[in-house]
Structures are given as structure tokens and as C-alpha cells.
Symmetry: C2
Subunit: 206 residues, 2 copies
Amino acid sequence: MVRKTKEDAELTRKRIINSARAVFLSRGVSRSTLEHIATHAEVTRGAVYWHFKNKTEIYQAIREQVFLPLIDRMDDSLTLASNEDPLTQIENSLCQTIDDLNNNLEMRQMYEIMMIKCEYVDEFASVPQEILSNCSSIISKIKHVYERAESQGILAVKLSPIDLALDTHLFFSGLLHLWVKDTDGSMFRHQAKELIKAHINLRRKI
Amino acid sequence: MVRKTKEDAELTRKRIINSARAVFLSRGVSRSTLEHIATHAEVTRGAVYWHFKNKTEIYQAIREQVFLPLIDRMDDSLTLASNEDPLTQIENSLCQTIDDLNNNLEMRQMYEIMMIKCEYVDEFASVPQEILSNCSSIISKIKHVYERAESQGILAVKLSPIDLALDTHLFFSGLLHLWVKDTDGSMFRHQAKELIKAHINLRRKI
DNA sequence: TTGCTTACATACAAATTTGTATGTATATTA
DNA sequence: TAATATACATACAAATTTGTATGTAAGCAA
């Protein structure tokens, strides 16, 4: 009973991707076998090899499915005009990411895999550099928003927009890392948005 | 030519540990074989198995060798009385860690392994929880220093000490993660201390 | 409806990796 | 100085994992 229709094939491809995310999450990328993934997806390794060249290609597929849209959204929320004041715009953009993490299982799993279930060597060695380069663009976008805040005179502090942007991005990077590790939510997840608000209020006049 | 003296044996044990750190760093923990480690240390797997039960035990040995002293030192620099003002004390404590990373190869390697060369599953699944618990104690120590700063009236901002401490810790966590990834130093390593100073100056009156 | 291609399943061979068992020469100790 | 324990090296067996090769039934185009 083989040879499914094209729609069926696309379904099994998605089942394989979803299974891979679950398997990566529970066993780590390195210890995950194509056999594990296939079993979880209720297919054989043959099916996996038909859709993907190897484990690396599956990982890339997962990453693109979740990560690229996220970066776009973060870009938009910082770049697009808004009727909020600039500081609130930064706050909302960060809070939006936290909301996404809470609401989107796939995104949550992918973040956990990327942060504590993957070793960045060999074919993954370039990922940290890519992350750094994403940082650059995000920091520069935050900087622009801080520049608008400065020109509107709503900043209570004397740091330059670039220093404020760097500080905010480092804060948020740390928050995301600890958010992911805080799986039971008792330390950071339950107060993530309050931490963001406090961080922004720190620089708001009055 | 076997059966070395006790001192010789201790030397080979240390050679194995140092080799393991180098191998973990270049191949990731999961893909590192006891054969890789043994070859790098110029011994056989027999020697490795004599000194350690398995790869996990080697990892633990590396971790304790580097990580525990660091936590102690960070604790001390925040707890012990100082003739600096509280904000400078926090600044110095964070800068000291950056100095340590720059000067201590073993510490630098271990941080890189822990952050981007290790998958926290199975026998390592409890490590993120341990990290979180370390966070708690560090945050509470930073909070105490901020309380002293507040009572001395040198704070320019209206956040509570606990919120300031959380913000500082998240900032520093993010900085460490990006410091590690920034291997060529162009983005964060070269200005890490300036970022710390900016972060502290943000809360300093005048 | 024939023929070709798709979407897999099954089978096989090779390479890795692990743990353990065993050998052995030399420190160390009594 | 004899006995014993140490600090390894070597050898072996078993289990995993990978890629590929081959089989096959059903969809699809002509």
C-alpha cells in the first residue's frame, strides 16, 4: 500500500518535521536517530530518506519553518510606524515575542532545541555567527526607535541610543535564555512581561 | 612500560581532562569519543577508563574544575565588604568575570562548551535547573548591593532593588552568551566592559 | 491501458562506538 | 624481597547507526 497522492506525501513530510522537533527536544539533536524520528512519525527510514537527505536537512527545515517568520515579525514591529510612543513600541515588540513563545508550541520547542539541545559544531558551526548577525540588525532597529524616543524627549537617562539599544538587546537575550531554561515557569516565565516593563520604565521620564 | 608513579598517574589524569576539554570544544560533547580524547591525550582508552567511568564523569570533572571556583569568586566579590560604592562594586564584579574569561583559557573553553557545545538531555538534563538555581543566589546578592546603593542615595532610578538586580542579571546573562558566540571579538568581546559600565551608569545619579 | 514515475518499505553492508575482559610490567608495601 | 595492587595497553564482543541498494504497489500522463 504505497504511492500516496501528492497531498498525502506533503502530509507525511510535515509529520516527519513535527516528529523530528519532538525527538530533537527529548533526546537532543546529536542523539536523535533517523530511526527515532521515523518511528515517531509512524513511517520507516525509507520515507525519511525520501523527503530529506539527512538529519541536517531536517534540522534546517525545522529552523526555517519557525525562525525566519519570527525574525520578520520582530523586524516589522520595530520598523513599522506605530501610534504608540517609541518606548512603548519597544516594550510591545519584546512582549509580543514572549506571547509568541507562550502561544506557539513549535516556536517554543525550536527555541529550546536551539538553546540547550543542539551542539554548534561541524555543519552547525556557522549558526552562532548567523545569530550574531541577526543581533546586529535587531540592535540597529532598536537604536532607531531609541533615537525617536530621544528626539521626543521622553528618555529619563543620558545614555546614547546605541548604548540603550545594546543594553536592551543584551537584557532580552538573557531573558530568552533563562525563559527557555525556566521550564516550570517559577523564576522567569511568569514575570517575563513585568521584567520587560521594568526594563523600559527604567529609561522613561517621570 | 606501564605502572607509573602516583604523580605520573595524576599527570595523565590531568592530561585526559585537558584533552577532553579541547575535544569537546572542537567536536561537541555528543560527538566526542573516548577514543578521540585518549588519542589527543596520547594514551589509550584503557587509561581513560581507568581514571573515569565514562564520558559523563569526565564532563563533570571539567565542570567542577572550572565552574565551582568561578561561582565562589563571584559570590565573594558581591558579598565581601568593599571600599567602593555599591554600584562600582557590581560593575567590578561583572568586569572581573570578563577579565577571567579573557585571561583563563580553561574557563573560556568551558563556557563555550556549556553554552553551545553541549545538549542538555538525559544525564545532563538537570544542568539547566542548576544554572537557574545559581541565578537565584546571584540575583539575591546583587539585590543586597542595590539595597545598599539605594540607602546611600546614589541611585538615579526609581526601580526597586530586586527589579534592578533582575535587570542586571538578565543583561549579564545575555552578555555572556553573546560574548561566547562572538569568537572574533568584533561585536561584543571588545566592548564588553564598556557595556557593563554603560549599564551601571544608567542607574547612577548625576 | 501501457509505461513511467512516485512514495515509500525492506534488506544489507560497513563503520562506529561502547564496555569489559584480560594481560603485564612496575610501584609500593609488608 | 616477595606479594600485591596499581596504571595502564590490548583484544574482543555486542550494539548502534548510517547510507545505499533494491523491491513494489499505486498514481498519473500519454
